[in-house]
Symmetry: C2
Subunit: 325 residues, 2 copies
């Protein structure tokens, strides 16, 4: 198994990314195929994605039915599994499908299994993690993680419609404690009760985070701060066999790159958002994590260059043609 961390910048030079969220087994059907009993879960996608850039510390739980091959696979990506609990019972399972609107997952069955009684306990070696990604999970569990970490440089969170309607207070509490909030457009609208994505983003910023990234699937992503906006298009793919995990691998790429570069300035975040888009674009090319598991750094670097070309029309410092008028 390819270990992406075996070459390049030494681990010690990079900040570590702590990822908490679901680890599960998925059954997914899309117009282009299906995959059954495959590795899934928000934290899984995010961890593997981040692992291409920085060391990852995983926090979550699996049941006693979780295939050891999947654990080996995570370990082979250099992901630290000390914070992964093994509990008696069934691993978290999700079954769903996508129609032609790939931005909309339709859940057929969600079984929390061992997640129903899970509480994160961070190993001592995790407590000084510099970057924290609270991937999609119960916001009360996200808060439990935040109570344990000491002084992270940057904390990011994700959520979903289920928590926005069911645990709004806890979620607002989380938003008050993070630096960066990830949300897709529908979630941002739901949380704020406004149709305008720009207004919704501004309202979320007022809840606490310094940055909000609105994920728009095939339409790319937009990073908002109080004073600035950055939009990156999605990579133009002819086909998207399976959008599952796109948002999670995006977030893993953002946090991973920030940990790699150590740059938490707005400019660093912009680049992180592009690397996140790179990772998401690879992830959706095949079912489950198949594409990411055979991805190389040179492919990531090449697609990043393609993103630069995709968005380029004039150097920032050049005067526009109409300036002369």
């Amino acid at each position: 198994m390819h270990n992406p961390l075996s070459s390049g910048v030494p681990n010690s030079a990079r900040g570590k990314v702590l990822v908490v969220g679901s680890i599960g087994i998925d059954c997914v059907k899309t117009p282009l195929g299906e995959a059954n009993d495959v590795l899934g879960g928000a934290a899984t996608y995010a961890s593997v994605s981040a692992s291409f850039f920085a060391p990852v510390l995983l926090v979550g739980v699996v049941g006693d039915d979780f295939p050891s091959a999947y654990l080996d696979l995570l370990a082979s990506h250099g992901i630290d599994l000390q914070g992964l609990q093994r509990a008696n019972g069934e691993t978290f399972r999700w079954s769903g499908f996508y129609d032609y609107d790939l931005n909309q997952a339709h859940s057929l069955d969600t079984r929390l299994g061992v997640f129903a009684s899970f509480h994160p306990t961070l190993p001592a070696s995790y407590l000084d993690a510099e970057y924290v990604l609270l991937a999609n999970i119960d916001p009360e569990l996200q808060l439990e993680v935040l109570e344990q970490v000491r002084k992270p440089r940057l904390v990011a969170c994700d959520t979903m419609n289920f928590w926005i309607s069911g645990k709004r207070d806890a979620l607002v509490d989380v938003l008050g404690k993070v630096d960066l909030a990830f949300m897709n457009d529908a979630e941002a609208r739901q949380l704020t009760g406004t149709m305008s994505i720009v207004k919704a983003a501004r309202e979320i910023l007022r809840m606490g985070p310094s940055y909000v990234v609105i994920k728009k699937g095939e339409h790319g992503a937009t990073l908002f701060s109080a004073t600035d906006t950055f939009s990156v298009p999605a990579y133009p793919l002819e086909e998207v066999p399976d959008p599952t995990g796109a948002g999670d691998s995006f977030e893993g790429g953002v946090l991973g790159f920030i940990a790699y570069s150590g740059d938490i300035s707005e400019h660093g975040l912009r680049k992180g958002v592009v690397y996140g888009s790179v990772m998401a674009s690879f992830n959706v090319e095949e079912f489950s994590l198949r594409r990411m598991l055979r991805l190389s750094h040179s492919e990531i670097a090449a697609r990043y260059r393609e993103f630069k070309r995709l968005a380029f029309f004039e150097a920032l410092e050049d005067a526009g043609d109409l300036e002369a008028l």
Copy 2:
């Protein structure tokens, strides 16, 4: 009335843009207001938008009920009205509304009026127009214009769902004769019978044009050629009072800028697509053409700079951070 052509680059240095399409009177209702009996029509929006960059030659027809104030308004923007026929009968009228999905116009009433028996006859002074925009109109009329112009440097066309289903053969004929096709995402899907916008664009390119621009409303626009792709995000507006004419003012901006710069290379087109996005972003800020009619060149230049900032993450020539790995 402000004449945008009165300052800056002399007209003689710029190519002229011939615009053919509907000129009409609209009644529009949106969640943020309504406007009745206002100036509208694809060619109107496109002409006024293009007039900020280059001299415009308008081809179309109005009825004897068309307010002379609207003619004065077009003339005050330096738009040549020699090709505008005045016929006995009612001017083209469109009534419609938008719900919260601003990408979807709902037509309540469309009355062709004098457009039902219209055939374009180009004045002699129009025949050498270098740039031609076949704005949304019956593709058979678009073909009649193409039969008359002599040697345009660049021809672009737009269309709509009505012609895709009703006059497909004529439309395919048009597509075989243009350099640049504008279409929104739904139209591209309808024309090609594919859900994938990337596949649809490639299929449209095979029909003839060297370039296709897919307009995606609040999600920006993407320019496709056989070998390259360029995406520009939409300008992040908090509110969009009236999306009517967004696509037309976009196209007018693209053609106007290309005529202004004379640059029909792919790089020139990329910049044109951004200036088009600038014009569309202003146009939707108010009902009808109100915002465009009090727009200045310095506002256009400033928003173009904002677009550069909106899309910037790294200079094209810089090595990506992962290149070192």
